[in-house]
């Protein structure tokens, strides 16, 4: 079984973080260039607001600049680490803002029009995107739905249970099983 941290892309990004920790501004710029489109897309997906997504992206990369030294390549991939940082910033915003679900859905419709096809043309990113999408399609719909509400919606398990009118235990189980299956699919692919 191959870990994502062992692939060349991750190793290169880990070396960039190491240089960032030493105050290398060019490494920081490169790291931003490689990850920003995915992270921005994710922030936008979560917040449905371009300005807020931009603010979150800036807060996330500020954190990366300041705390690059805390990154442990044995515990995480650079991408996962950066994703969790930006996601946490977005969730902070979501929880403060408490935006309504209607606003979120409305904004999702406009998301299609703002896609960055040029970023998707990067071969490694395009391949990774295809793999993850395929893997997500292979897990049961109800598990995927709970997982996406937790990850992108920033909803707690209890909030998801309320929204889907399902018992809390069921939601916990769906998220856990969905993630375990996704992990297995991704490990098979890599």
């Amino acid at each position: 079984m191959t870990r994502l941290a062992d692939d060349p892309e991750s190793k290169f990004e880990a070396s960039l973080i190491s240089r960032i920790a030493d105050g290398d501004e060019s490494a920081f710029a490169t790291f931003y260039q490689r990850l920003s489109s995915s992270l921005y897309g994710m922030a936008y997906r979560m917040l449905n607001d371009a300005k807020e997504a931009e603010d979150v992206l800036q807060e996330g990369f500020t954190y990366i600049w300041r705390r690059a030294g805390s990154f442990d390549p044995s515990r995480s991939t650079p991408f996962a680490w950066a994703v969790m940082i930006v996601r946490n910033k977005a969730i902070d915003r979501l929880r403060v803002r408490q935006r309504s679900e209607r606003l979120r859905e409305r904004a999702e419709q406009s998301l299609v029009q703002q896609r960055d096809e040029s970023s998707a043309e990067q071969p490694a990113l395009r391949e990774r995107t295809a793999i993850v999408r395929s893997a997500l399609q292979q897990i049961p719909q109800e598990q995927r739905e709970a997982l996406e509400l937790a990850f992108f919606g920033g909803l707690t398990h209890e909030e998801i249970a309320d929204r889907l009118t399902a018992p809390l235990g069921t939601i916990k189980a769906r998220i856990r099983r969905g993630l375990l299956k996704l992990r297995d699919f991704l490990q098979e692919e890599t």
Partner: protein
């Protein structure tokens, strides 16, 4: 093997759902468990991969510059007039830095102490959790036992109810039989009462018949004077042939002369001589009644007679016959 509950707790930790104290407790647990650490790494990578599913978007290119500018801060020239004054206080930053360093050390020590305390609390919580789980398991076992006991008791109760129903049925049947017997007893009582009545009637009839029979056995004879001297005297004899006894009643018969007695005789055709029925005591003129018993067995009393005999009576009639009756 990581149990499902721990897996779910770790996922809540990674998704940022836990309270700060819970986050710290889970972090401590992860650091002390290599298997759990591997699981956390895999889950974090998997969660991170989900971001790949989103269509990338062109991010503003100047963000790194903005960050770096903000981090460095504006470089402001120091006015000449202030430089000498600043030089005089050059030690201040160093002093502040020293204070800061000391504070950091103190905080670091404090943090270690807090972490140690939290670790102990976590261990205590785990111990409590284990005890609680054990107690819960025991309670569940007791509950299961109780349920079994209740089921057995219900079964016994059902059996007893069946037995009770059978007994009630038998009791009802016995009551019905008893009722029938009482009815029969009442009928028999009635029959007995009828029989007793009939018996009483029969007894009455029998008594009447006996009376009639007695009457048929009784012979009544009127004694009439045979001598002028005793013309005023009269008498009556009632003879019970069955008992072979009788009663004689005399009226206006004068007392016998001295050395004489009146003697009663029963004339029985089957015998050659009259049979003596005893001497009659007549102390004065008046009504005399006395019973008598013949001195010999009498087959049939055809007539009765009174004669005057020597005092104490005779074996056969020797004196004058004064009264006779048939």
């Amino acid at each position: 093997m990581i149990d499902e509950q721990t897996q779910e707790l770790v996922l809540q930790y990674l998704l940022g759902e836990l309270e700060p104290s819970q986050m710290e407790a889970v972090r401590t647990q992860i650091e002390s468990d290599a298997e759990l650490q591997t699981f956390v790494t895999e889950m974090e990578e998997t969660l991170g991969s989900i971001a790949y599913s989103v269509q990338p978007m062109a991010a503003p290119p100047d963000i790194p510059q903005r960050i770096l500018r903000a981090e460095k801060g504006p470089v402001r020239p120091v006015p000449e007039a202030r430089r000498s004054r600043i030089a005089a206080f050059n030690f201040i930053p160093w002093a502040l830095a020293a204070c800061l360093a000391i504070a950091c050390i103190l905080l670091g020590v404090d943090r270690e102490r807090i972490r140690e305390g939290l670790s102990k609390e976590l261990a205590a919580l785990r111990e409590t959790n284990a005890q609680t789980s054990k107690a819960l398991a025991q309670l569940q076992q007791k509950s299961a036992d109780s349920e079994k006991g209740i089921a057995a008791a219900r079964e016994r109760s059902a059996g007893l109810e069946n037995e009770l129903a059978a007994l009630n049925q038998k009791n009802a049947e016995a009551q019905a039989k008893l009722s029938g017997l009482k009815q029969k007893a009442a009928e028999q009582e009635q029959t007995l009462a009828d029989l007793r009545q009939r018996d009483a009637d029969s007894q009455k009839e029998l008594a009447a018949l006996r009376e009639r029979n007695l009457l048929s056995e009784v012979k009544v004879a009127i004694l009439k004077a045979q001598v002028a001297k005793y013309q005023q005297a009269n008498g009556i004899v009632v003879w019970d042939a069955d008992r072979r006894t009788g009663v004689v009643q005399l009226d206006k018969l004068p007392p016998p002369a001295p050395g004489k007695d009146y003697q009663l005789w029963v004339i029985d055709p089957s015998q050659t001589l009259p049979v003596s029925a005893g001497v009659l005591s007549v102390p004065s003129v008046g009504l005399i009644r006395t019973s008598f018993h013949p001195t010999q067995p009498v087959q049939s009393a055809a007539a009765f007679a009174i004669s005057v005999e020597k005092s104490g009576g005779s074996m056969k009639p020797e004196g004058q016959i004064i009264l006779v009756g048939k």
